[in-house]
Amino acid sequence: MVDTSRSPTESSGFSRKLAALIIIIYAVVTLIPITWIILTGFKSVTSSITYPPEVFFEPSLEGYVNLFTTRTRQSQEYLEALPPPETWYEELVRSREMVIAGPSKFFGRYANSLIIGFGATFLSVFLGALAAYAFSRFKIPLKDDLMFFILSTRMFPPIAVAVPIFIMYRKIGLGDTHLGMIILYTVVNLSLAVWLLKGFMDEIPREYEEAAMIDGYTRMGAFFKIVLPQATTGIAATAIFCMIFSWNEYAFAVLLTQFNAQTAPPFIPTIIGEGGQDWSAIGAGTTLFLIPVMIFTVVLRKHLLRGITFGAVRK
């Protein structure tokens, strides 16, 4: 007998279950390292380097304290002479026979990441939207060639041009500056932004902006009031991709930033404790580093899903 309970386009129960299983396995595999690094952040320094690794352990905030502070080791006598610790983290540090010497550089590096990440994302999306609109609406000589040229900037890994960029940046004083990094990430992201957004702009009927222009608005006014709000989906999707790249970028950050504008990715792995890498602090730093881009993606998630399926069904 033929099963008529489902439509012919719907997949069968078995293939769905199989698909779900594959996705779950894939998710577990990809999530293991992330889970491990998050767990490591809540281990004590000794527990983080125990072999065989501990899956069950007593949670500790030592990693987070170490991440935000610099500490010095002191003698037993010195510690005993001090007044009793005022805060839980001082107490934690003293139990390791150390005192807090001051804040670490983590906060500054994190702020740099935020400034550069969001700055580059905003700039890429803004410039990308303008360019995409122009490509979508106007007659431009050699339009296809220009679009290809824009795409071709991504046909080699950006790091391939690292040396010339390094020299250029040093000569014009953009090395180790926020502006320099924002410009660099924008340049890398721009081709993606233009291509993605052009697709979305093409889908927006011209009648909307024509209506706005007849209603008394200039083309620029129509672009900001009518076209941009309707491209929200595309802008959100583009912003997520740009944000993920500029937030995670490592190679250029290592090469071009040192003090002023160093972002979190080159900083976190260099957190050194006594006698080597402080893994629990690195775990803590990584966990905190994951949060902004996660929030950003979750907030824009609704648009991202719609963004990917955009244009599939026309109303």
Binding site: E207, M213, I214, D215, G216, T218, P229, Q230, T232
Partner: protein, 362 residues
């Protein structure tokens, strides 16, 4: 309100000429319809009047002011799009307020205007709805509202009823015409539907292949088509054409079909074309026992008081509108004749009507 004048207007896209040297005057307070098959240049003409398209050459005058190269935003003209183009991210009220905001109206004034317009169009209950939740007819009303609220010099409408279903279209036709009678604004309305054009327009311009072929009142256009194209495009069912295999002399008042003489209005001009066409409206043909063109009844459409017979003859199919009393079985042999006064002879080469007492070119 205002008068719109097109002088020698021409538009070409690369090699393609969309609108050929057109002259047209749309009078103040007039409901003017641009009618033609798709691709005839009527929408391009409208877009040039709106300022959405710049002409290749020629002039557009609005109230005697040259607006040919002004931006759309500087022309004070409203446009109703075929797909309405209501801003989807705004509710109805914001859509209506959008053009007013740009003109710098105060909030209280905007509200008064919106109130007025929504009352006129009976959309008060929709003001806070999302555009996407509206039915086709309501969207149409809101789009009209957005056009009216500004009190512009003229309204341009690009097939605004094209996407509505048949029943609703009829209703909106009436509403649009009533609205025009109420606010008396110069309106240019583009459509390919000759019924819409006939029922709403004060005057109609018929376009084909980028040219304005004829303009006049619906009655003029129906009764005195200047070309064979106009005759066949206007009217439902369309005009019947009978080929005449001889040339037409000046002052000729008889033609020969099938070896028999038929009376036609005395011609003022003549033609050397060896094939010409006699055009007759379906209601001006009748069945007869005497002299006539022989044919076979092929179909019969019952339309209440009247019916339309399709008759196959050696000269092609004819549509004849007759009274219901007429008895014509399908398959029976009949003869058809026509009222001589309403017959129009078209030149087979130029497609133009040959002038007579009833038809004057220019």
């Amino acid at each position: 309100m205002s008068e719109i004048k097109l002088e020698n207007l021409e538009k070409s896209f690369d090699d393609f000429v969309a609108v050929e040297k057109s002259d047209l005057t749309i009078q103040d307070n007039e409901f003017f319809v641009l009618l033609g098959p798709s691709g005839c240049g009527k929408t391009t003409t409208l877009r040039m009047i709106a300022g959405l398209e710049l002409p290749t050459s020629g002039k557009i005058l609005l109230d005697n002011e040259d607006v040919t190269f002004l931006r759309a935003s500087q022309r004070d003209i409203a446009f109703v799009f075929q797909l309405f183009a209501l801003y989807p991210h705004m509710n109805v009220k914001k859509n209506l307020a959008f053009p007013l905001k740009m003109q710098g109206f105060k909030k209280s004034e905007i509200n008064i205007r919106i109130e007025e317009v929504s009352k006129l169009l009976r959309i008060q209950h929709l003001l806070n709805s999302k555009v996407s939740s509206l039915s086709g007819g309501d969207r149409q009303r809101v789009a009209l509202g957005r056009a009216i609220v500004r009190r512009p010099k003229a309204f341009l409408m690009d097939e605004p009823l094209g996407t509505l279903d048949a029943e609703f279209r009829e209703l909106m036709c009436l509403e649009l015409r009533k609205l025009h009678n109420d606010i008396k604004a110069t309106t240019v309305y583009v459509t390919h539907d000759q019924l819409e054009a006939m029922s709403m327009g004060d005057r109609i311009a018929v376009m084909n292949k980028g040219k304005i072929i004829q303009f006049g009142t619906p009655k003029d256009i129906y009764l005195k088509p200047k070309t064979k194209f106009v005759g066949s495009f206007i009217g439902s069912p369309a005009m019947n054409f009978i080929p005449i295999h001889h040339s037409i002399e000046k002052n000729q008042n008889k033609i020969v079909i099938n070896g028999e003489n038929y009376d036609v209005p005395q011609s003022f001009g003549g033609t050397n074309s060896s094939i010409n066409y006699l055009g007759i409206r379906p209601e001006k043909m009748f069945l007869t026992d005497k002299k006539g063109i022989p044919g076979v009844v092929f179909g019969s459409e019952y339309l209440g008081a009247r019916k339309i017979l399709t008759i196959k003859s050696e000269f092609g199919d004819f549509k004849v509108r007759v009274s219901n009393q007429v008895n014509a079985q399908i398959g029976s042999n009949v003869k058809i004749n026509f009222e001589p006064k309403s017959a129009i002879v078209f030149d087979g080469t130029t497609d133009k009507a040959i002038e007579s007492r009833y038809i004057k070119l220019n």
